[in-house]
């Protein structure tokens, strides 16, 4: 099975074999990452540029490490500090980039659809590292890999996604990925944090945490995105924690072997109990970070193979 696309813009356009192709290769890279010599030359000679138009520490570090482990020349640009302040449009940025001949472009942008737009204008492979409230595909893939390794499969699981669904690109990508792989997805959260039209997503929606967590295999907590709250979605953090914060009592309604996930960074005591987050018997939050590097290595490797094959097919045309 192979990955058939030239970019990784979201989960929506992917078919199950695309997802499996990335996860299978990521499994191998996860093993490589546990060795002493963690290096491959899959991307040797290629240039990877990370463009983050929005603050990020973890995702950017993960992409950087992934590129370096595969031997790429990696450059990271913090865009909010540079050209957009000077009024340069995204299209101008794309043209500037083209002149630098990148092979892989990793982009995070605060506006939904901005990465799609950029991908139409550059002649390299583009990876979406999060665009607005739209998608964050590598997060969904790393979550999938974590689940697959913990549960031994990625189908016919009951998976609850809890919290601020409305503002979360992680939730959207996960809903799509888990649905495509034939799992039952439940969304739990206050109705003010549910996106509109959610009933048509092929998911079950719960407003009560205990009810929603009943017999689930996986509990995915979302960060309460305080910076996105432009006013009055919830009355207070403490009421939110009381009703929707994950603690041992609420988790007791899930299956005994249910795992707990969180995309990070966590607000301890707001959406998740600190002790529970550290409980190595339940929490796989550290594994998620580990799988993040492996999944990004796999995605970039597959995209680079497609890119080189495409260039070979039109030799002399591409620069």
């Amino acid at each position: 099975m192979t990955y058939s696309h030239s970019h990784l813009l979201g989960i929506e356009p992917l078919a199950p074999p695309d997802i499996t192709a990335i996860l299978d290769l990521a499994d191998q890279y996860a093993d490589l990452n546990r060795r002493d010599v963690k290096h491959s030359d899959a991307l040797a000679g290629l240039t990877q540029i990370n463009m983050f138009f929005e603050n990020s520490t973890r995702t950017q570090a993960s992409f950087e490490l992934a590129g370096k482990r595969l031997g790429a020349d990696v450059m990271s640009m913090a865009m909010q500090a540079s050209s957009i302040k000077k009024g340069e449009t995204l299209i101008d940025t794309a043209l500037t980039l083209n002149a630098m001949h990148p092979d892989l472009l990793v982009v995070r942008h605060p506006h939904s659809g901005a990465v799609d737009l950029l991908s139409e204008k550059v002649n390299c492979a583009v990876l979406n590292a999060g665009d607005g409230r739209h998608e964050h595909p590598t997060q969904a893939l790393l979550d999938a890999l974590t689940i697959r390794r913990a549960k031994g499969r990625l189908h016919r699981l009951n998976i609850a996604i809890c919290g601020d669904i409305a503002h979360s690109r992680v939730a959207r990508s996960n809903i799509m990925l888990l649905g495509k792989m034939e799992n039952r997805v439940r969304l739990i959260g206050p109705p003010t944090l549910m996106p509109s039209g959610i009933a048509d997503f092929g998911v079950e929606v719960f407003e009560d945490m205990q009810e929603g967590l009943k017999d689930v295999d996986v509990v995915m907590m979302l960060r309460l995105q305080r910076e996105r709250m432009d006013g009055g979605f919830i009355p207070s953090e403490r009421e939110y924690y009381h009703r929707y914060g994950l603690d041992a009592e609420k988790l007791s309604h899930a299956k005994d072997d249910a795992i707990v996930m969180h995309p990070g960074p966590m607000n301890r005591g707001v959406e998740i109990d600190g002790e529970l987050a550290d409980d190595i018997n339940r929490s796989v939050i550290q594994q998620q970070v580990e799988m993040g590097v492996a999944v990004r290595m796999a995605a970039m490797d597959l995209l680079a193979r497609n890119l080189l094959a495409r260039r070979q097919a039109q030799t002399g045309v591409m620069v």
């Binding site: 506006h111 039209g197 048509d200």
Partner: protein, 425 residues
Amino acid sequence: MSILFTNARLIDPEAGTDSLGWLLIKDGVIAATGSETAMPKADEQVECAGACLAPGIVDIGVKVCEPGERHKESYKSAGLAAAAGGVTTMVTRPDTLPTIDTPEVLSFALRRANEAAPVNVLPMAALTKGREGLEMTEIGFLMDAGAVAFTDCDRVISNTKVFSRALTYARSLGALVIAHPQEPILSEGAAVTSGKFASLRGLPAVTAMAERMGLDRDIALLEMTGAAYHADQITTARALPALERAKRNGLNITAGTSIHHLTLNEMDVANYRTFFKVKPPLRAEDDRQAVIAALRDGTIDVISSMHTPQDEESKRLPYEEAASGAVALETLLPAALRLYHAEDLSLPQLFRAMALNPAKRLGLDAGRLCAGAPADLVLFNPDTPIVLDRFKLKSKSKNTPFDGARMQGKVLGTYVAGQPVFEAP
């Protein structure tokens, strides 16, 4: 000077008829129509070969970007586009730079229009200064200078006291007020309509209900003030019962809708195609169907192009940041003919909404095919297939959602006051 159109399919929105016949124009007005074989003599004869002859389109709400942004659209380019699209009267918007809110600016715009545009141009003026919703404009002076209606365009006057006074003052002068029914806080920053599509794309959205809330408020103000009011665009099913009730209660209210809301829905935005970003945003298919039904039964009176030129720079942006609006003077007729070919509306019904009703609302004689009406006419073949190429549009801006679309309907000729202003090559 007289012209006789023979063997024409006469589309008469007033009589509601669609029949073969002849039409004679003389000295800029329609002199006679008929279906008999004995025809009057004329200086010139146009053999229509069964093509449709209808009153020229009266388009309320055209944005011409003069003064201020002539690089987007000038009176000349908009006028040529209108002529090519069968639009014989452009009722222009005041949302220019600066706003058309004083008699001086209005006179400037009107002078430019008369110099450069081959079709009729009737300007609208802002209802409040700078469209800021704080102080009313000189409605009386502006009417004297030629303003046919008063509107703050897509800005809602959220200060109800200001709006009620402006409506009261407008009523005393018999001025028509055109408003954009929308709850301004709910719709702030919205790029699409709430629902599954908005959530999938992760775009800021406004509930369709915000239109009903805005309309409900405006209707209450009409009951208070008795002003003459036209809603620029009614685009949702939820707003229709309120509109229908207000009409039944005898309020002086009419409503329009845009050609884009009649022929496209929110799904057409697809992968963040910003040429489909209009204001209000495109709606669900159920809403589109409801609006078509409302046009059929007369609850909605007017179809407008809501022609809004935008340059490439303001559209080639992430969806949230991209400017709203689409050019439509040249695509209004072929797009409207989609409704005819889908058997949603007959040709007389379409021209009732595109010519007769807007003319009546503005107190014009146009929009009719009867003797004595101005000879503003469009001759078109409703069946000719076309593939739209946006770079062939006469507008300076090319932001049409119909680029590459297969459509049916071709304008063969456009006449203003009996003079040809466009003839198909």
